[in-house]
């Protein structure tokens, strides 16, 4: 302890006989020297703790706490001899006397320190706070908490030391040295050593430093491990498996540094940070809304009785059948009045009228039995006209039932008995059949050794092609292949009414010479070709059926509109 002059202006230390502050050049004359506490002599005073490292603060506090406990025990023994109020009064008096003896500048500093917390150093604040905590209302509970905290901190250190194989065995050997060292050490340091436990191996001063440094190392390792754990937790895409693998890596690194911590890594106790991406959040929201929607109460929809609707449907169906039957069987077969002739119908008529005698015609059957009545109705007068011209007719079926239908159709006009009809059989898959037929007919080259078809095609090819089809797609396939492979051969069509609108462009482009479809064209053919087939009654039933269907559709539409309106009003 030396005498120093403290500058009242800046607080700098000056030598005892200095007249001016060496730092701020303030006048130091008349100032009183103060007793300066040398930091190097901290082992002589409790204030020497301020110079210790902050990491050892807990142990130091523990030592202070034990000192306080001893002091309390001593006070308790004195309390038996003194009155109860004396210590407090004596303490106040001592403080008052102390205040009277201190210089004015120190009093101001203390006053400023009490008013402004920032004026105190950090360590001083911690010590003050620790002292205040020790003087709290619940010293026993805090004592227990403090003890447990110290034990928690001490545990890894002791554990680390215990991992040394020879440490436990050599405890007795080092007892004498311990006593000698303890005699040389100050009291506060011995208290700290007692507080840290006797298990610490201290064979020499080096081991002592090692024991002191172990706590520092442990704290540094603890801080590093927390940082590593935080880094793991910050990884947004890690799942549990990744987290486990990451934990293993961290554990290995901890062992390589020989950090004496618990067997269970500290970072395992920290739950992984849950990171949710925006997409996952949206999916979760959708799932939640779906679950809520499923569980939401729904209004019970009244079961509609369909008996009324079924009865109405049955009534209209019977009405349609009866009206068409009456128009079919009552009224005779007169009244064939053909409407305006469409260009494609006129083209067909001109084609069949220009057809020469004994022409070679390819007849393609590409329709299903459901449309046989419509196709047969239109194609019967045509086939009669062809047969009457002694045409050589080659038959091809590109539909499965074509072979049956062609026999039915030709049987009705008694054309099967003639020798001018040749059945070329079934050509599966329209595109393949058309392509194969076109290639065989038009190709100027042949593959050597290729087996010939059992059904021979006409030597001179075909003069014309007539396609009977119920679908626009089937006709288009034949047109696309034949117009390319056999562009000079005219193609005519007999199709259903539903496929006719899709095939008109092929007539406009000149790829087909003519086309007939439906009942109207059948009536025209009947009147133009004068085949004697009367279809007037069918046309009348057809017209009645169209009117009935239109009426039923209107009624159904109105009923549906009213029903929707009622449901909307009810909702």
């Amino acid at each position: 302890m030396t005498d120093k002059l403290i500058c009242p202006e800046c607080g700098a230390e000056n030598v005892e006989d200095a007249e001016f502050c060496h730092f701020c050049h303030a006048d130091l004359k008349g100032d009183t020297t103060v007793e300066f506490i040398d930091p190097q002599q901290n082992d002589q005073d409790d204030f020497g703790l301020l110079n210790g490292k902050e990491e050892d603060l807990t142990d130091i506090l523990h030592a202070l706490k034990q000192t306080e406990e001893e002091a309390v025990l001593a006070d308790e023994t004195q309390e038996d001899q003194l009155p109860i109020d004396e210590p407090e009064d004596g303490f106040d008096e001592g403080e008052a006397q102390e205040d009277e003896g201190i210089p004015d500048w120190l009093h101001r500093i203390r006053q400023r320190a009490t008013e402004e917390d920032d004026s105190l150093g950090e360590i001083t604040q911690k010590i003050s706070a620790a002292k205040e905590s020790l003087k709290g209302d619940k010293p026993e509970e805090q004592h227990e908490n403090f003890e447990s905290w110290i034990e928690k901190l001490r545990g890894p250190v002791g554990g680390f030391v215990n991992k040394e194989p020879d440490a436990a065995a050599s405890d007795d050997a080092f007892d004498e040295k311990d006593e000698e060292i303890q005699e040389k050490e100050p009291d506060w340091l011995q208290k700290i050593r007692v507080a840290e436990g006797k298990e610490i191996v201290q064979d020499d001063q080096e081991s002592l430093d090692h024991g002191e440094n172990s706590l520092l190392n442990w704290l540094a390792a603890l801080e590093d491990s927390e940082e590593d754990t935080a880094e793991v937790g910050d990884e947004p895409d890690l799942v549990d498996e990744d987290m486990e693998s990451e934990s293993v890596e961290i554990d290995e690194s901890a062992e390589t540094r020989e950090i004496p911590i618990d067997e269970t890594p500290l970072y395992e106790a920290i739950p992984p940070k849950l990171t949710i991406t925006k997409e996952e959040r949206n999916q979760a929201d959708q799932l939640t809304s779906m679950i809520l929607d499923e569980n939401a109460p729904r209004p019970v929809r009244a079961i509609k009785r369909r008996s009324k609707l079924g009865a109405a449907r049955f009534f209209f169906a019977i009405l349609l059948i009866l009206s068409m039957s009456l128009s079919l069987f009552i009224g005779g077969t007169t009244g064939n009045q053909s409407g305006p002739i469409q260009p494609h119908t006129a083209g067909f008529l001109s084609w069949i009228s220009d057809l020469e005698e004994s022409s070679s015609i390819l007849l393609v059957f590409d329709y299903q039995p459901a449309y046989a009545s419509e196709i047969n109705l239109v194609s019967t007068p045509i086939l009669q006209s062809l047969v009457s011209k002694d045409s050589e007719i080659s038959l091809i079926s590109s539909s499965v039932s074509g072979t049956i239908l062609q026999r039915q159709l030709l049987g009705e006009i008694h054309a099967l008995e003639t020798d001018s009809i040749v059945d070329l059989g079934y050509f599966p898959i329209g595109a393949y059949g058309a392509f194969g037929l076109g290639m065989v007919t038009s190709a100027n080259w042949q593959i050597v050794g290729l087996p010939e078809s059992s059904k021979a095609l006409p030597d001179g090819g075909f003069d014309s092609i007539l396609i009977l089809s119920d679908t626009a797609e089937g006709v288009r396939t034949w047109i696309e292949q034949l117009t390319v492979l056999m562009p000079d051969i005219p193609i005519s069509l007999v199709v259903t009414a539903q496929s006719m609108p899709m095939l008109v462009p092929y007539f406009d482009s000149g790829q087909i010479t003519g086309m007939v479809s439906g009942l109207n064209d059948g009536v025209i053919l009947e009147s133009e070709l004068s085949t004697g087939i009367l279809i007037g009654n069918r046309r009348r039933a057809y017209q009645v059926g169209l009117v009935m269907l239109a009426a039923i559709m209107v009624i159904g539409a109105v009923n549906a509109g009213n029903q929707n309106h009622e449901e909307g009003g009810a909702a």
Binding site: R313, S401, L450, P451, A497, L519
Partner: protein, 233 residues
């Protein structure tokens, strides 16, 4: 005997017709029986047809009676058929890839070639030809009608093609622009919708027409059957 055989088939046809028409009362066992009967008969008929019309005349008989070069040529389809059959077994499905690839490639080539040279080019040429003035004046008193027809054909074709154009703006400023077509195509597609609607309406009317004709044919059959039945008594 022949007469009885024909009568039997006519009665059977009449009953089947009534079974199909019984669907007016809703789905019932008679309608299902007739449907299953038709499907089963058609399946069996297809097997016999292919065997009799395809395999025998174009494969088996040429192999049996043909020359060696012909038999070698026919070995190619035989191998392909054998591979297709093997592909039906578990673990050998990969064997069927070659014949299926051959068939798919051939079908695509035929279909694409036919569509381009049989439909696309001729139809485009027809539209261009419809604006030929010689065509307009070919038929007296129909000049304006042909011009109108040509214009309608052009607008309908462009509009329909625009409707099936699923592009987007080249420079999309907002996300909504990504879902929009260019303004010209959007307008033409609206026009195309009108033409498509008219075409589908015509097809729908044709379906009604064909169905009515089929119903008329069946009604005629039933009427003639009943008429003949009463006449026989």
């Amino acid at each position: 005997m022949t007469f009885s055989y024909e009568i039997l088939w006519i009665v059977f046809s009449f009953l089947l017709t009534l079974m199909v028409l019984s669907y007016l009362l809703g789905d019932n066992i008679f309608f299902r029986f007739a449907s299953h009967l038709f499907i089963g008969v058609m399946a069996g008929y297809v097997v016999l047809l292919i065997s009799n019309q395809i395999l025998w005349p174009y494969l088996v008989r040429p192999i049996v009676n043909g020359t060696l070069p012909g038999v070698l040529w026919l070995g190619i389809p035989v191998v392909l058929i054998f591979m297709l059959v093997l592909s039906q077994f578990k673990g050998l499905t990969w064997i069927g890839s070659l014949p299926l690839a051959y068939m798919a490639g051939l079908a695509a080539a035929i279909a694409v070639g036919g569509a381009v040279f049989g439909t696309l080019l001729p139809q485009s040429r027809a539209i261009v030809d419809s604006f030929d003035p010689a065509m307009w004046y070919a038929v007296p008193n129909q000049t304006w009608f042909r011009i109108l027809d040509a214009v309608l054909m052009l607008v309908g074709t462009v509009g329909t093609l625009s409707y099936f154009h699923f592009g987007r703006k080249r420079k999309s400023m907002t996300e909504e622009d990504l879902e929009k077509r260019p303004a010209i195509l959007e307008g033409l597609s609206k026009v195309g919708q009108v033409f498509i609607g008219i075409s589908l309406g015509a097809v729908f009317a044709g379906v009604f027409s064909s169905s009515l004709l089929a119903l008329i044919d069946r009604l005629l059959f039933i009427g003639q059957f009943i008429n003949n039945l009463f006449r026989s008594f």
